[in-house]
Symmetry: D2
Subunit: 146 residues, 4 copies
């Protein structure tokens, strides 16, 4: 496993990150390194729930997706990544101007990869970590998905 | 705890369900009963991920939100519901025309409520359960949130 | 996948269930069928925690192990089963005379198997479900473990 | 919240840690500080499962219990701690001479406390982290448990 990602691979992962539902949500890829992926979101009204806080689903989607892209950084480019499951704890309601998600691979097995995602509430002041997830992913050879 | 919901309460919960991020995602409330909530989604391209499957975040958001509204059916109308945490397993990629989510309260404690959400992949044929979540929620008196 | 287990396979799984740490804890295999495994425990003082309730670890061990044996009932006898992860919710303290655990496979993929375990608190009266777990398991060809 | 624990409180928590099921399992409290608790286990045959590896239930019990005692270090001594739920990932089979568990509180809310537990496999060489758990706990006034 090559621990230095090429600029081409980094660019590909950043662009690939922002598609489909993720584009619809507005998440942006920020930084990529071996075993790490960082993303952010500018919060809009359509990210909130009935009480005005950021919807738990926004944080869960960000945590899952960013963990998946952290996993992409530790596998061969021919592999796809699928989420087997995840668990997320919500520490306190988030209501700032943005969110930042920092995902880190904590176990890279041959098939099963485990990553953690920390979601931060960005506001006038840094309000700290608002949610944390543990995500179990599976690396699948690309053609096996078809 | 009154186990029969008024029509007014049912209508309120259905309307309240479809706000903010949930409206942005397109989830619709379908059926409401004591301890149960059912919702659905017509799938569009913006619900998919890089491989064309429904994004795990779509299913997670639906599972969390619908579980929360199942919890609303077992508490006094003055209470708010917050997600403490949830865990979701993805059984197989979903790629049908729609999703259905069925949430059921399996433990209604005084403060902590546990609900399960089953997400079904609806297509030409019923493709069965595609994800299942266990959600831990907290019932909070309305004014305590302000 | 043969959905009828031979009496020999059932007997083997029941005996295999009660080894090592499981014997040390005192769990007993009760019933075995395709996709299902049921076990019980007579509670002793050494199963309790500092407040006199059954220790969460007793219920978690029972939930994990019994889910694993439910998984054994849906794979070829040459396969081993390993726990990838599990999540367990504790609904209320258990303090009865015994526990019963009922595990059911809810998704049998080629590699990943998901099972649920419900733990019941048995007392003078049936006190109901005290904990519920969702367990993700992996089926591994026997020789691959060596 | 006083962030320096008295020697009396530390001694009490260490002794309180090793009771009931935990004594039966053989876990030992090692180090205690505000928000942190560290414990260890000398592995015996009765901690293993059918393949000779440490049973997942041993690691889960250690992770849950040690997280609970980390939570005790951040609450008033009159409070009790109950596990609401936990999730644990198993990274690789453990088969060394001992285990070490390091638990850290990552969120101390007024009622809900979240802690993480890392379980290390100790052998001839340090085999690294073998499991990691995220544990949701509730702080309950002592008399409320009776």
């Amino acid at each position: 496993m090559n621990q230095t990602l090429s600029q081409k691979r980094i660019l590909h992962l950043k662009q690939d990150y922002e598609r489909g539902f993720i584009r619809h949500c507005g998440f942006k890829a920020d930084q990529v390194a071996h075993g790490k992926f960082r993303a952010s979101l500018v919060l809009k009204d359509h990210h909130r729930q009935q009480d005005g806080f950021v919807h738990a689903g926004v944080m869960a989607t960000m945590a899952d997706h960013t963990a998946g892209y952290a996993a992409f950084t530790v596998v061969d480019p021919t592999f796809q990544i699928l989420s087997i499951e995840f668990k997320i704890n919500f520490f306190k309601p988030a209501f700032g101007r943005g969110l930042e998600c920092r995902s880190t691979v904590i176990r890279a097995g041959r098939k099963v990869i485990v990553a953690e995602s920390e979601v931060y509430d960005l506001g006038e002041e840094n309000r700290g970590m608002t949610a944390k997830a543990m995500v179990t992913l599976m690396a699948v050879p690309g053609e096996a998905l078809v």
